[in-house]
């Protein structure tokens, strides 16, 4: 009996159900959902910028949050393949099953780069759906924002006007910001870089930078010393100007290379929260470009 009273007390203490409960798999979609949803949504972000998005477990707290969600916002393209299908299934929440309006995959709205011709794990941890790290392309973010606003309006028609207005405001701001970033990043055009993992393909493609090597011999595979030495030799003939890694990645290999090749190792926030400056999506791009420009000096 006492347990029942306790349970009811708990149920009563839950946040108001008036707001749309959003479960975002990664910080960038959490930030986007907040910008479009404003005070009409409660956003839970399942991971943070210092976690490797490929290596998350379906831990109990995620199940509890997915159970209460009305909308799951995921990257898709197999980024969350190791944990999200399990969380969505075990959360006993029919509203967020794939195919339902409550399940939104950003990858379904945008095209992907680096879609493999051959899907074979001998080539490392390949994603059949292409490179899933498209959050570093502002044009794609813009498209995703539009689709997400539609989805939120579909789930919560009462606040449709608010979602649409917020999305329009975001799009306006975004347009101006993109123009500013592109002007700012002019010196980066054509700059050759090495990357730890192919985390920045979209950013580099957008800014016209050139990726000349990856420190991982294959996606998700740690480099051996022979491979790193080969890269160092290659640096003599095709010099890269800097080495890029995401905030969550270990610095061992990029530091090794930076010291020997005498080029800077630049840490990019990769997602919202990856640096002190990357507080939101605008901050993410501001800081990424600033750090790249600093690396150029």
């Amino acid at each position: 009996m006492r347990i029942l009273v306790f349970l009811f007390a708990l149920l009563g203490s839950l946040p108001a159900f008036a707001a749309l409960n959003v479960f975002a798999t990664v910080p960038e979609w959490g930030a986007l959902a907040r910008e479009i949803g404003g005070d009409k949504v409660n956003v839970y972000v399942a991971t943070h910028a210092l976690q490797d998005p490929h290596r998350i477990e379906a831990k109990p707290s995620l199940l509890a949050q997915a159970r209460r969600a009305q909308l799951v916002v995921a990257t898709g393209a197999d980024l969350e393949i190791g944990w999200l299908p399990l969380v969505v299934r075990d959360a006993a929440n029919p509203a967020i099953q794939p195919g339902q309006p409550g399940y939104f995959e950003a990858a379904s709205v945008v095209s992907r780069l680096e879609v493999p011709q051959v899907v074979d794990r001998a080539h490392g941890d390949v994603h059949p759906g292409g490179n899933p790290h498209f959050q570093l392309d502002p044009y794609r973010i813009d498209k995703i924002a539009a689709a997400l606003a539609v989805r939120m309006a579909q789930l919560d028609p009462a606040n449709e006007a608010s979602y649409r207005a917020n999305q329009r405001a975001v799009a306006e701001r975004w347009k101006a910001a993109i123009a500013r970033w592109e002007k700012l990043a002019e010196p980066l055009r054509g700059v050759p870089v090495m990357v730890q993992h192919r985390s920045f393909s979209y950013l580099l493609a957008w800014l016209g930078m050139r990726e000349v090597a990856t420190l991982e011999p294959k996606p998700g595979v740690e480099p051996g010393s022979a491979y790193l030495s080969e890269l160092l030799t290659r640096q003599q003939t095709q010099p890269a100007r800097m080495i890029l890694r995401a905030a969550y990645q270990n610095d061992t290999h990029s530091q090794w290379m930076a010291t020997r090749a005498h080029i800077p190792a630049v840490v990019l926030p990769f997602t919202v929260g990856g640096s002190d400056e990357a507080k939101d999506l605008t901050g993410l791009f501001d800081d990424s470009i600033n750090r790249l420009l600093k690396g150029l000096r």
Partner: protein, 465 residues
């Protein structure tokens, strides 16, 4: 583009190849140049793709809705598009044990007929596991797991169940054959274990694990922390019950799990479980001190209470470099009924007699697994069982001497294991394990060395907690 110098060098390299072996730096230079060319073109193609995508995006008068509906990749439309997710687990071992696995038993505990012996000596193939899973429709999902035994004993249906996808209010129903939701390790398949073999407590109390033919209902509470309640009703045809040719439910379980996070770096889960079933003439065969065959059987009620705890640590929640996992489970089983002793087929010294039997036995294990650098993990496990206080009416009245029931002699088996494993990717693992197991009785320690590989191919497995 290749400049003139580079072109000359490539030409020279090619000439060298034709005449005699090129020197290594030349080859490396050529390879680097080819790679560079490839990369250059890839990036130009990417840039063009980008341009194309942009210009598509700038088409006027396209509403947000239609943009959202545009599929980015054309899906396959053949009949095979609906094939289920398929995965195969390959598992093989080399074992070196100081005592024969064929004589394995756990002294002090009623034998259960489960697959509890250590892996056979020398090279052996473990269970090759084939898993198929797919959504049946919008309401159900189906999963089937078959294991093919290495020694040609045929295909066993490990699990074959359906589960609901759309029950309201946090409810989920499972039906068919499935691994029970009790405890922590019980629902895990051997390839996800952190050690080569199951904890002793599972071996003694469930014949390695509790598998049900039945139904399971789980409720996930709408609370900010994890709270799950579950109940199962099953036939209970396996240990600790047995086949009883009876209508209705023969085994029931109840379990509850709670869990949550402490900051980003820590996650935990704790649970309690209860299993209750009956056995009728659950028999085992043995020999009395004169070597005559005996048959002993238990009829009565068996109930098991369990508690489990798991705690995981990874700096900032990122397990890539380092992580640690602690887990411990505790079980206590009570059995209450009658024990029948029959040596009519052997020495006929006692005949066929029956009297009361009551036992309270317990067991636990605790283990820690530490990933000290990427790909490498070190684990330690300690197992302990206690045959507890057992009241055997037949022995108390003097009808049967304790020597006639060697398996029921009071004893506390122990086992210690250390393992080191290497996982070059998520899909492969090599493991070396040393263990010292004293289950057989005092002075009968078994020193074990196992080398094992576990590889998975096909669908990407889930990272269960």
């Amino acid at each position: 583009m290749i400049d003139e110098n580079q072109a000359r060098r490539v030409g020279r390299g090619a000439g060298l190849l034709g005449a005699h072996a090129a020197s290594d730096p030349d080859l490396a230079a050529i390879r680097a140049q080819i790679d560079e060319l490839k990369r250059h073109y890839e990036q130009r193609i990417a840039a063009l793709e980008e341009k194309l995508a942009r210009s598509e995006g700038q088409q006027p008068a396209r509403s947000a809705e239609t943009q959202a509906a545009v599929p980015s990749a054309s899906p396959a439309t053949s009949a095979t598009a609906f094939n289920p997710e398929i995965s195969v687990i390959l598992d093989a071992k080399v074992a070196n044990t100081s005592r024969s696995p064929e004589t394995y038993r756990i002294r002090g505990f009623i034998p259960n007929g489960g697959e509890i012996a250590p892996p056979r000596r020398s090279f052996s193939l473990g269970e090759t596991e084939l898993a198929l899973a797919a959504n049946v429709d919008h309401l159900f999902r189906g999963t089937a797991l078959f294991s093919v035994a290495g020694d040609g004993e045929g295909i066993a249906t490990e699990e074959a169940y359906i589960e609901t996808l759309a029950l309201p209010a946090g409810l989920k129903l499972k039906a068919g054959r499935f691994l029970s939701g009790i405890g922590y390790v019980n629902a895990q398949h051997p390839h996800t274990w952190d050690f080569v073999d199951a904890p002793l407590a599972y071996k003694a109390f469930f014949g390695s694990r509790l598998s049900n033919d039945g139904v399971q209902l789980k409720w996930l509470a709408p609370t900010p922390f994890f709270l799950e309640l579950g109940a199962e009703a099953a036939r209970g045809g396996g240990f600790p019950g047995n086949e009883r040719d009876k209508n209705g439910s023969g085994l029931g379980t109840l379990f509850a799990h709670v869990g949550g996070d402490v900051g980003w770096s820590h996650a935990w889960q704790a649970g309690v479980s209860y299993v209750r079933t009956h056995a009728r003439d659950r028999a085992w065969e043995d020999t009395d001190p004169t070597g005559g065959a005996t048959r002993t059987a238990f009829t009565g009620r068996s109930s098991t209470l369990g508690a489990d705890f798991v705690w995981k640590w990874a700096p900032d929640g990122n397990p890539a470099q380092q992580n640690f996992k602690f887990q411990s489970e505790l079980f206590q089983r009570r059995e209450n009924g009658t024990l029948t002793y029959d040596d009519t087929a052997g020495s006929h010294a006692v005949g066929r007699v029956a009297d009361g039997y009551r036992s309270r036995q317990s067991g636990w294990y605790a283990q820690g697994v530490w990933q000290f650098m990427p790909q490498w993990r070190l684990g330690v496990r300690h197992d302990r069982l206690n045959s507890g206080d057992t009241r055997i009416g037949l022995v108390n009245t003097g009808l049967v001497s304790p020597g006639d029931l060697p398996m029921l002699a009071a004893y506390s088996p122990r086992r210690d294991a250390v393992m080191l494993d290497w996982s070059p990717s998520e899909f492969s693992r090599l493991r070396l394990q040393f263990a010292r197991d004293t289950s057989r009785g005092p002075g009968e320690a078994d020193n074990q060395v196992f080398l094992q590989y576990i590889m998975s191919l096909g669908a990407h497995g889930a990272h269960k907690f």
